[in-house]
């Protein structure tokens, strides 16, 4: 672009210079010619009057040199009828030759015209004596050196302009490249940040400590540090949340164990008192066994959930139903009406722990969202190619911020207010990690309706269909 502009400018300048040179040359030539022809005319006038051929010729011979650089002019002097009286080259234009046509080449009052094509300038001078035309002088000047000079100037201009244009273009390219190099660097850092961790720019290598770019780099580094701190904070929060949820779980589990404990101790007392009676003994032992079995189920479920295994264990329907057991204490505490439908049959090629975690988090969230005696519906189904989990409640619904976290529009966990904590965030991350998505809708019951859809791997699909 710059080069084209500069080429255009140099072309215009070149043309202007050449035009100016041509004008100057022609003005100069015209002045020389006028002087020369005036002198020649005054020398030959009396001889032309007398048609003294020899003296006209002699005058031409003595005067044919115009001036330095023009060499000898070719001169023809005619009488008033256009017949040659003498010429500087009689072999070409002999005495008496009709040269009236020479006059026709000139416009009315024109005295000089230039024919750059054949390197000649043509001039005429009308010889007047007592207001009467007595003849004409025609002079052809060799201007090849003027044309050559123009050509030299043109060549020089083109060479110079081309050189300057190239130099300036190179300089401009280098300068712009150098000016933009910090931006390119910033761009590289941002690109690499998209693929991995954001890395601060090493300011030591920039060399622009006070420039606009240095300030930009510093602001970028500040941003990178802030983001890093935020991520670190989020990690800490996640850890804390894990501890907190562990506490809740422990508390729930203690509850689950404590509930049958009273019955168990009663049964032991009954056994101690009336153990000799077979009927009492049998029923008490059964009671104890049921209580212990319930405790065993709770402990087994917790162990299964928090075994911290990250490897892929296929999901079975029982994994999901276990969750109902885990939230049982919360459900009972708030007297929640829990509707539970698990339509999954057989194994699914999905990581059991992740799905269980999502289900637990969303269900706990729903239970905490509803009022005392509220209603929560859990519907788990396996459609043709996807696993679908719907949790709805009749609570007050999710706040927009919480919904953003859950659907992934916001990538940071909410730290305060409704839906705060890592439950929703972790659920979203787990679902996204499985290639699934979470949608937040409004339930027919009035609260939130959260739909989690996770595509099934193809193998699992075949197995499912089979």
């Amino acid at each position: 672009m710059v080069v084209i502009f500069m080429l255009a400018v140099s072309a215009v300048i070149t043309h202007a210079v050449l035009e100016r040179l041509r004008e100057t040359q022609e003005r100069h030539l015209s002045a020389l010619s006028t002087t020369f022809l005036e002198g020649l005319a005054s020398a030959v006038l009396p001889y032309v009057l007398r048609e003294d051929v020899w003296e006209v010729f002699d005058a031409i011979e003595r005067n044919a040199t115009l001036s330095v650089g023009f060499g000898r002019a070719f001169i023809v002097i005619t009488d008033e009828r256009g017949r040659t009286l003498a010429s500087s080259n009689p072999l070409d234009v002999p005495l008496g030759a009709d040269r009236a046509s020479l006059n026709d080449r000139f416009a009315a009052s024109q005295l000089l015209f230039v024919d750059a094509g054949d390197g000649k300038a043509h001039a005429r001078k009308i010889l007047r004596y007592q207001d009467r035309d007595i003849g004409r002088i025609f002079a052809d000047y060799d201007i090849t050196h003027l044309v050559a000079e123009r050509r030299n100037v043109l060549t020089t201009l083109i060479a110079t302009n081309a050189f300057l244009t190239l130099c300036l273009a190179a300089l401009a390219y280098w300068t712009i490249r150098r000016m933009l190099s910090p931006l390119a660097r910033l761009s590289r850092h941002i690109d690499s940040g998209a693929a991995g961790p954001l890395v601060p720019i090493d300011l030591a290598g920039t060399g622009h400590h006070d420039s606009e770019f240095a300030r930009l780099f510093r602001r970028y580094n500040t941003l990178v540090e802030a983001l890093s701190e935020r991520e670190e904070l989020a990690r800490q929060l996640a850890a804390e949340e894990r501890v907190a949820s562990l506490g809740r779980l422990a508390s729930g589990m203690a509850h689950e164990i404590n509930n049958p404990l009273g019955g168990l101790f009663n049964a032991i007392d009954t056994l101690r008192t009336h153990g000799e009676r077979p009927a009492v003994r049998t029923s008490s032992i059964e009671l104890i066994e049921r209580g212990l079995r319930g405790i065993r189920d709770v402990v087994r479920t917790v162990l299964a959930t928090y075994r911290a295994d990250r490897h892929l264990r296929p999901l079975v329907p029982e994994d999901l139903d276990d969750m109902r057991l885990l939230i049982g204490s919360e459900v009972r505490r708030k007297n929640v009406d829990l509707g539970w439908r698990n339509a999954v049959v057989g194994e699914l090629a999905l990581p059991a722990s992740a799905i269980r975690q999502i289900l637990l988090n969303l269900t706990l969230n729903a239970v905490s969202a509803v009022a005392e005696g509220g209603r929560v519906l859990v519907d788990i189904a396996c459609l043709s190619a996807e696993f679908r989990l719907v949790v709805e409640d009749d609570g007050s619904g999710l706040s927009p911020a919480a919904a953003d976290v859950l659907t992934g529009r916001s990538t940071r966990p909410l730290l305060q207010g409704e839906g705060a904590g890592l439950g929703l965030w972790v659920s979203q991350r787990l679902a996204a990690g499985l290639g699934g998505r979470i949608a937040v809708e409004t339930s027919a019951a009035g609260g939130a309706r959260i739909v989690v859809v996770i595509p099934l791997p193809e193998i699992a699909e075949h197995r499912d269909v089979a």
């Binding site: 003498a86 080259n89 009689p90 002999p94």
Partner: protein
């Protein structure tokens, strides 16, 4: 037949109003104060028929003649033979180097002083010349040409050709396509060499000397015909003055020129051997031609 066609700027019709060019104007100016005195310088006329407009030659000739005459000598130069001849006949100048044609024409009013010796003889020829590549070997081949003459009063540069045509009943105006006078033999060579004229009538002596001095000019011309040998253009004076002291000194000075270093220098420039006394009968062939063309 006197000196070179040089200062030929004065048109015939208007000569008194025009100045002589360069060196000649200077010579005239030098002479002017002398005219005012009683003692008038010796006036020696030269016609523009010989070689060059060489000022060196003129200075050397004037110096030699002044010494020979033991007094101031003024060289008088005119464009045409006519001017010198009429002044000589009228006694306005003391002596002049003229052509054989006016000498014969004014025979009764002129006396012969001396005749130049060129290549051992007191005669010369007239040449017809044409362009170097032009065909032709005789006067008749030049019909219709643009022809350059030297001077209407020149023997070799006009009369010989005119007489040659008269022998066959022709006249230059009708025989040639066009003619013009150049008032100098060298100019005839220039006119033919340049192509301005297709042919010319020229003094054989001048042409031969020019082959040494200006070969680039003569090489562009070719001699197509040479006349018989005729009396060389003589130095003459008015009738009756031959016994005057100054003319006698001039005659002796011319005769002794070849023995004098300065004289030798003049002769060297003119390519002449010297001057000799001669009988007017030397010019008989010219007189015959004058008779032929019916001029007096």
């Amino acid at each position: 037949m006197p000196p070179p066609g040089t200062a030929s700027v004065a048109p015939r019709s208007d000569r008194r109003r025009l100045l002589l060019a360069g060196g000649f104007a200077g010579l005239a100016a030098l002479a002017a104060p002398r005219v005012l005195r009683a003692e008038r310088p010796f006036q020696f006329g030269l016609t523009p028929v010989f070689l060059t407009s060489d000022l060196v030659l003129l200075e050397a000739l004037q110096a030699y003649l002044s010494r020979a005459l033991d007094g101031e000598v003024r060289l008088v130069l005119r464009r045409t033979y006519q001017e010198i001849t009429s002044q000589l006949v009228a006694g306005q100048i003391d002596a002049a180097w003229i052509c054989g044609f006016p000498f014969v024409a004014y025979r009764s009013r002129l006396e012969l002083v001396a005749v130049p010796v060129w290549r051992g003889r007191t005669t010369y020829q007239s040449y017809l010349i044409a362009g170097a590549r032009a065909p032709g070997a005789a006067l008749k081949d030049l019909k219709g040409h643009v022809h350059a003459f030297s001077d209407p009063d020149s023997n070799s540069g006009y009369l010989v050709t005119r007489a040659g045509l008269a022998e066959t009943g022709e006249r230059p105006e009708s025989f040639f396509g066009r003619t013009f006078f150049t008032y100098g033999h060298r100019n005839v060579v220039r006119a033919v060499a340049s192509g301005l004229a297709q042919s010319g009538s020229v003094d054989g002596y001048v042409w031969e000397v020019m082959t040494e001095t200006e070969p680039e000019l003569t090489s562009r011309t070719r001699v197509i015909w040479k006349s018989d040998w005729m009396g060389f253009p003589p130095v003459a004076t008015s009738a009756g003055r031959l016994r005057e002291d100054s003319i006698a000194r001039l005659q002796r000075g011319l005769q002794r020129m070849a023995a004098d270093p300065l004289g030798q220098r003049v002769l060297g420039l003119l390519r002449l051997d010297g001057f000799a006394l001669a009988d007017p009968g030397l010019f008989q062939s010219i007189a015959d031609r004058v008779a032929l063309v019916g001029r007096d």
